[in-house]
Subunit: 102 residues, 2 copies
């Protein structure tokens, strides 16, 4: 059975430059903008081109998760991703809002 629980950094472990880097890719940023609308199944995440290989999506989501931008949890037989908006706002006030509104 594959591992279901993925590691997530605590807010104290967030690193500003890692967060900025994770947001600096147009495809990853597109995923973040979708998640700003609400949580979704990983399979529903889209990038600029629309379709993408599952391995590519997994890599984008891993970078976002490891930076602390999203949470990725098992949900039944699927996986759900959500934006860690409160955590980011707490640690880096105004950053995510300015990026989403840009």
């Amino acid at each position: 059975m594959p591992e279901r629980e993925l590691p997530h950094p605590s807010t104290e472990e967030f690193v500003l430059t890692d967060v900025l880097f994770a947001l600096s890719d147009p495809n990853r940023l597109t995923i973040v903008r979708q998640l700003a609308e609400g949580p979704m199944e990983t399979a529903s995440c889209q990038t600029l081109g629309g379709e993408m290989p599952k391995s590519t999506r997994s890599h984008y989501l891993k970078t976002l998760r490891e930076a602390g931008i999203i949470r990725n949890v098992a949900h039944g037989r699927e996986r759900m991703v959500s934006l860690r908006r409160e955590d980011l706002d707490h640690r880096f006030p105004g950053l995510l809002t300015s990026v989403l509104e840009a």
Copy 2:
């Protein structure tokens, strides 16, 4: 005689992900934090480690300039760099402030 005037993007040409990428490196971010205090000669810019080869510094400054974060102009026999704070605030309100205060 080497070229003295370097190209700088107009605010309309700024690309959010390029700005985020330029800020996502600890050494480049250190330079930006210094420039938040005021303009300085390129030779005075320092990074985390303090000293750095001139070629390394030139590369950091190029990435920051091309993203629109700094202006790099000839000043007598030296070159001066400054933060394009108003331009960034105009185009991406709140972004630079949130990064500098993080």
